[in-house]
Symmetry: C2
C-alpha cells in the first residue's frame, strides 16, 4: 500500500509517541479518532476542524502511524484511520487517557 | 537571572509539555529529578548519564522550563533544577505518572 512501517506495540518508543502527540493538529486527529472510531481520512481532516492541505494531513498521519498511535486501512479507493488505543494503553498505561482527558486546546 | 519564562500551571500547553518530554535526554532528566528531587544542574547532567555539553544541556533545560516541567533556582554560583510535579499533575492529571512509569528507554 505505502512505505509507512507501523510498529508492533512492543516496539513503540515513548519519545516518538510523545512527539507524535506534541502537535495541535495531530492531537485533534487523535481526539477525533478516540471519539468516532475508525474514520475515513478525509472525514478526520474535515470534521476535526483541521485547516490543512491533504498532503500536510498525510504528513501528520505518517508521523502518527510511525509512532504507533494510528493504523491505516485501505478499502476501495478510500483510506481509513483508527486509533490504536488498546496497543498504546498496553505499552504505555494511562498515557493516552491523560492526554485525551486533558483540557482540549484552543481550536487549531 | 535569565530570560526564560516559566509558565504558571494554568498556562501550561499540552503540545508544549509533550514536546518537552519527547526527547530521550529530557526524559532522562525528568526521571532523574523525579527520583532525586531538586538537584544541582551539573549533577543532573552527570548522573542522569547525559553525554551532553553544558550548552546543550542548558538548551534542553530551557525547553523543559518554558513548557512548565521544571523550575530553576540560583543559589550562590549554582543552578538547581526541580521537577514541577504538583503543578503538572494539577494541570494534566496522570500524564507525568504515565511517562515516569513507562518502561525506561534504552540508555541515551
Amino acid at each position: 500500500m505505502d512505505d509507512v512501517v507501523e510498529p508492533d506495540a512492543a516496539d513503540m518508543q515513548l519519545p516518538r509517541v510523545l512527539a507524535a502527540l506534541a502537535d495541535p493538529h495531530r492531537l485533534a486527529s487523535v481526539r477525533f479518532l478516540a471519539r468516532n472510531g475508525e474514520s475515513w481520512c478525509t472525514q478526520v481532516m474535515q470534521e476535526a476542524g483541521l485547516a490543512l492541505s491533504k498532503s500536510t494531513f498525510s504528513h501528520h498521519l505518517r508521523i502518527m502511524r510511525e509512532a504507533g498511535l494510528v493504523t491505516k486501512r485501505i478499502q476501495g479507493a478510500k483510506g481509513y484511520a483508527r486509533l490504536r488505543k488498546d496497543d498504546v494503553d498496553r505499552r504505555f498505561p494511562g498515557l493516552l487517557d491523560s492526554v485525551l482527558n486533558a483540557e482540549a486546546p484552543a481550536r487549531v
